[in-house]
């Protein structure tokens, strides 16, 4: 099979590029247990920089060098200005990286526009051998990437710097005590990793076009390779890259290019399920080598029960007040949309509150619900009740499956797994055109049914229906937390190994939480379909999932937090008339700021501010708070970012 030879050659060339991308991920992870989500976007920026310079007449070599430097500088800045502050908590670093990805994607779009571009090859032509064509550009990529990789291995094995990097990787505390400046090693890893991503980007750009929003997809590819090789294990990378590169090329060559994402996400999910430590590593990377910083002591202010309830109840009614107060139906439908968001936030809270997992798969779960309902309505003509009957069990099953994968991996892989799940579902809905109508979207032919005398044809009745469901989800979450199962799950969240040691089935608990979340999500998804009447794959993509996470982090999980935060989140961009790209930029900045500045979320902060003000005005009635002594009664308001700030170990 001569075509096979061609695929193998192309696959090996692709491997050498993936090696360059993955090595940065694995270097940084090895030293810090951090996966930098924005890493893929560094590569995208390098492509644009190189293209701009080449278009301006700069020779390829200098353009490539400039792109490498640009990527290195961005990596350096991101470490200095952002990741440096989350070094004691890689989970926070993950979220900051997510924010940075959103910011850099929208910035790239603003600067370079939305078209996919390629980098003109350094050399043209090639030589045929049998039926196989060896393009000189591919040969060049293979040789240079191979040399750079070999140089890196030599540097790690033979030089003082390499020894220091390895020492800092193996045991950062001991390394510091033999005189290694561990902080500087982290900087070195960031800069080197980002620069290599830049080089990988330029090469990748000569093989395939790249667009402003490709960062998320590229980091997942790089992550798939790094994971195959055993995260943090540089020596496994070469084999992993070849395996992945050839696999991908074969999938694209014998299948279709659209199947490649399934290959990527499939690799991630399967490796995590079967061999979380990578294919070539006997021992999975242990978190114990990571410097155990003393856990930040949660200093959540406590509120009297009345104060909390009052605050809660007032906030709960806010959507109704706003809905009735805004005059236009345009704004009213946005308030309705915000409540639909809030249902998803509550669904996420079922998982988050009980297991501590901040999942970026909410959009994926919602899509399963909405699309299954849409498909049976469009293709089988089945109505609302059938939709619920089909969508809920299906989404519960999808949630359970996701929970199963999640329960197999530790805190640091979680976000990536859930992101891969989201991307997988989006890709499915895009690809299965016969069922989903792909990009064009599915238009619902059905209407919400009448219940007795109630009809749901106008905006107001739809709003109250959705609002009621949101309240049910919120109260359900509260009740659920105090059930036996809920308590078990909280045990898992507080201390997983302790929970395990007293006989709780941790894995099963996580599967259960995700299944439950799936049920809530499905109901919300079906309501979304029946009130919005049209769904497109991007309605539920990773960015949507990230929005849900941001709303949860912003609003906290207090009763009305998600409702209020959703409203702010949906209405504000509309009132400011931001286009989607500006919105994405804003989300990214918000996410970063929340993690760095606002540990407990916005609404809890408001309540705290309110009660602090009250205690100042009425000191006699609040002796405990007035003296600055925390009250002992009542439980503290906990917010996601607070937990995120605690070390997950």
């Amino acid at each position: 099979m001569d075509l096979l030879m061609q695929h193998l050659f192309n696959g090996v060339v692709a491997s050498s590029v993936y090696m360059l991308i993955a090595v940065g991920i694995t270097l940084v992870f090895g030293l810090t247990r951090l996966i930098n989500f924005a890493h893929g976007q560094f590569l995208v920026i390098a492509v644009f920089v190189a293209l701009d310079l080449i278009t301006a007449g700069v020779p390829f070599v200098f353009a490539a060098a400039a792109a490498v430097v640009a990527a290195g500088v961005i990596g350096w800045l991101s470490e200095r200005l952002l990741f440096r502050f989350t070094m004691d908590n890689p989970y926070n670093g993950l979220i900051i990286g997510l924010g940075l990805l959103l910011v850099l994607e929208s910035a790239a779009f603003k600067i370079w526009g939305g078209f996919q571009v390629g980098v003109p090859a350094a050399v043209t032509g090639g030589a045929g051998l049998g039926d196989t064509y060896f393009a000189w550009n591919r040969v060049l990529v293979l040789v240079v990437a191979g040399l750079v990789t070999a140089g890196l291995f030599l540097l790690l094995a033979r030089t003082r710097l390499g020894a220091q990097l390895r020492a800092a990787h193996e045991n950062p505390v001991a390394a510091a005590h033999v005189g290694v400046n561990v902080g500087r090693m982290v900087t070195v890893a960031f800069v080197a990793g980002s620069a290599l991503a830049g080089l990988g980007g330029v090469f990748y750009g000569t093989l395939q076009p790249v667009g402003a929003f490709d960062g998320a997809h590229l980091i997942l590819k790089g992550f798939a390779v790094a994971l195959l090789g055993g995260l943090g294990n540089v020596s496994g990378l070469a084999k992993a890259s070849v395996l992945y590169g050839i696999g991908e090329t074969l999938v694209a060559g014998y299948g279709r290019a659209e199947y490649v994402p399934f290959f990527t996400y499939g690799v991630i999910i399967i490796v995590l399920l079967v061999r979380p430590g990578g294919l070539f590593e006997k021992h999975p990377p242990s978190d114990s080598t990571f410097a155990r910083s003393s856990r930040g002591v949660a200093r959540a202010e406590r509120h009297s029960r009345v104060e909390r309830l009052l605050g809660g109840a007032a906030f709960v009614l806010l959507p109704i007040v706003v809905f009735e107060a805004v005059g236009t139906s345009r704004l009213q439908s946005l308030v309705l949309l915000s409540v639909l968001y809030a249902i998803q936030v509550y669904a996420l809270a079922y998982v988050y509150e009980t297991t501590g997992v901040l999942s970026i798969a909410q959009g994926g779960l919602m899509a399963v619900g909405a699309y299954s309902a849409g498909v049976i309505a469009v293709h089988l003509g089945l109505g609302f009740w059938w939709a619920l009957l089909v969508a809920v069990p299906l989404t519960v099953a999808a949630g359970a499956l996701l929970g199963l994968v999640v329960s197999r991996c530790t805190g640091h892989y979680l976000l990536l797994v859930t992101l891969a799940f989201s991307a997988l579902v989006t890709q499915l809905t895009l690809t299965a055109i016969d069922l989903t109508n792909g990009d064009n979207g599915l238009i619902l032919p059905e209407k919400l049914p009448e219940i007795g005398p109630l009809t749901f044809t106008d905006l107001r009745s739809q709003f109250y229906l959705v609002f009621l469901v949101a309240l049910l989800a919120a109260f359900g979450l509260r009740r659920f937390k105090s059930t036996r199962f809920g308590l078990q799950l909280s045990g898992v969240r507080e201390n997983e190994s302790l929970a395990r040691s007293i006989g709780l089935r941790v894995g099963r608990a996580k599967v259960g939480a995700f299944a439950l979340s799936g049920a809530v999500s499905a109901v919300g998804g079906v309501l979304y379909l029946y009130t919005q009447t049209v769904i497109v794959p991007t309605s539920f993509d990773a960015v949507f999932s990230i929005k849900i996470v941001i709303i949860l982090v912003l609003g906290g999980v207090a009763l009305a937090g998600p409702l209020v935060a959703s409203m702010v989140f949906v209405l504000l961009p509309e009132l400011l008339q931001l286009d989607p790209v500006d919105q994405q930029f804003l989300f990214g900045v918000l996410l970063i700021m929340i993690i760095l500045l606002l540990p407990r979320g916005l609404v809890p902060a408001l309540i705290t501010g309110y009660s602090a003000l009250r205690s100042r005005l009425l000191p006699a009635r609040h002796p405990a708070t007035a003296t600055g002594r925390p009250e002992t009664g009542g439980d503290a308001v906990r917010s996601p970012s607070e937990l995120v700030r605690e070390e997950i170990s």
Binding site: N171, V173, G179, V180, G183
Partner: protein, 240 residues
């Protein structure tokens, strides 16, 4: 200026809500070995960590030959002459013995580097034999030798040893005692040795301090401590 190499005054340090060490003052005169004794959890390691910069003191001062070490990172205190051998022999298990030793001198010029390695390997034939093997393959005692040797690679003025006998077979103890004495005479370093069980530490030291619940409860010549009951007091909490 005192003649003390290391002078700790009024040190208070801890972790989060825990205060592990309260108002401790002690000194190690140049060229001598001083023992710091106490039960598990007394705060001994915290004192060493404060000196080497792994833990930031809440208050108090730490001076090496008159120069304050407060606020420095471990790699910076090492550059000033403090070498800290961590509790539990933290060798780099995946790196070879020689690589471990080389790392010990990342802060010093290459000139003295091979010379010191030769000196150490010469003195420890066991390490020389296994020079190219991963350190993880050494026995516990050999790993402790390696950890101390690695600290000596930086030619420290002040050597901090955290429970060097912990987890070692009793037959290894004389070797460790000999190693500490040799290090002291060869490199001229002052030594602060932390131990739970007093025998070894009092044997190599001239002066001893006893720590209980983060506070110093005794300070006397080692010989006196070896006879007296200050140690019992420290361990069992019987006040004299």
């Amino acid at each position: 200026m005192s003649t003390a190499e290391l002078e700790i005054s009024g040190l208070t340090a801890g972790y989060g809500g825990v205060v592990a060490v309260k108002d401790v003052s002690l000194s190690v005169p140049a060229g001598t070995t001083v023992a710091l004794l106490g039960a598990n959890g007394a705060g001994k390691s915290t004192i060493l960590r404060s000196v080497s910069g792994q833990v930031k003191p809440r208050s108090g001062d730490i001076r090496l030959n008159g120069e304050s070490l407060v606020g420095l990172r471990p790699d910076q205190t090492l550059a000033r002459g403090v070498a800290h051998v961590l509790e539990g022999r933290q060798v780099f298990a995946q790196m070879t013995v020689v690589e471990n030793l080389r790392l010990g001198s990342v802060r010093r010029g290459r000139d003295t580097h091979e010379e010191t390695i030769a000196l150490l390997l010469d003195h420890f034939p066991v390490l020389a034999e296994k020079a190219r093997q991963p350190a993880g393959q050494l026995s516990g005692g050999q790993q402790q030798m390696l950890a101390i040797s690695r600290a000596l690679m930086s030619r420290p003025r002040m050597l901090l040893l955290d429970e060097p006998s912990l987890g070692l077979a009793p037959v290894m103890l004389p070797t460790i005692v000999e190693l500490i004495r040799w290090a002291q005479t060869t490199f001229g370093a002052a030594v602060l040795i932390v131990e739970q069980y007093s025998a070894l530490a009092l044997q190599v030291s001239t002066w001893g301090y006893v720590l209980r619940n983060g506070r110093l409860v005794a300070s006397a010549p080692s010989a006196e401590l070896a006879e007296g009951d200050a140690i019992n007091t420290a361990y069992f909490g019987v006040d004299p």
